[in-house]
């Protein structure tokens, strides 16, 4: 069974479009995260949700918005996509701030 899953794995889209990436975890964790990994492999935390409350919001453009319909899901919506949004996006989950379990990643390419 997949612990943390993301869809889609690859996403290619035009500049200006709006897209969503879905994340689900079946570990019963109370905290979920979104990370952006650039071409140099640097991992930057974007958001985390604990019990449906946003507890971290880094300096991320407001074009990015996390949505958590329930404790097991944290989706990432991106409006008006820009070239610089091209990256690999990882979802992760944990019990509070302990070891995080990562999904397989979504490679977003903006043309």
């Amino acid at each position: 069974d997949t612990a943390v899953s993301q869809t889609p794995k690859y996403l290619v889209t035009q500049m200006g479009n709006d897209k969503s990436i879905k994340c689900e975890q079946n570990l019963g964790h109370d905290t979920m995260y979104w990370y952006k990994q650039d071409s140099k492999k640097f991992l930057k935390i974007m958001f985390s949700y604990n019990n449906k409350e946003l507890i971290i919001n880094e300096t991320v453009p407001n074009r990015f918005s996390p949505k958590s319909p329930d404790k097991a899901h944290l989706n990432l919506h991106i409006n008006s996509l820009e070239l610089g949004d091209s990256a690999v996006y990882f979802c992760a989950s944990s019990v509070r701030a302990n070891e995080q379990f990562f999904g397989p990643g979504t490679r977003l390419t903006v043309l």
Partner: protein, 109 residues
């Protein structure tokens, strides 16, 4: 072989040698540290962790050393194997988890 974090983001070792990957963390108040391994095309995977009340922790073929005086963390991999080739990240926690820049380990057969 040994890396020194940001100044040597790539470490190349011979199969069977020991590897040492270094990390300088930023916050002296960090109380929990994790090493992650990221293979090509996959998400980071937990390797080993250590709390700030410890100096050393051993796992299977891996050892993490923590030096709080100089805010330094290292990951030692014994008898490095081709399957160890990956990017390794250290992460520190002081309320939330912050990742270092990563070091790419390449194992030559």
């Amino acid at each position: 072989g040994e890396s020194v974090g940001l100044h040597l983001p790539t470490l190349s070792v011979q199969e069977g040698d020991n590897s040492i990957i270094n990390c300088a963390y930023s916050n002296s108040a960090s109380d929990y540290f994790i090493w992650y391994k990221q293979e090509s095309g996959k998400g980071p995977q937990f390797i080993i962790d250590i709390r700030s009340n410890m100096d050393k922790r051993q796992g299977q073929r891996v050892t993490v050393l923590l030096n709080k005086t100089v805010k330094h963390l290292s990951l030692q991999i014994a008898a490095t194997q081709p399957g160890d080739s990956a990017v390794y990240f250290c992460a520190e926690n002081w309320g939330d988890m912050r990742f270092g820049a990563g070091t790419r380990l390449t194992v030559k057969p």
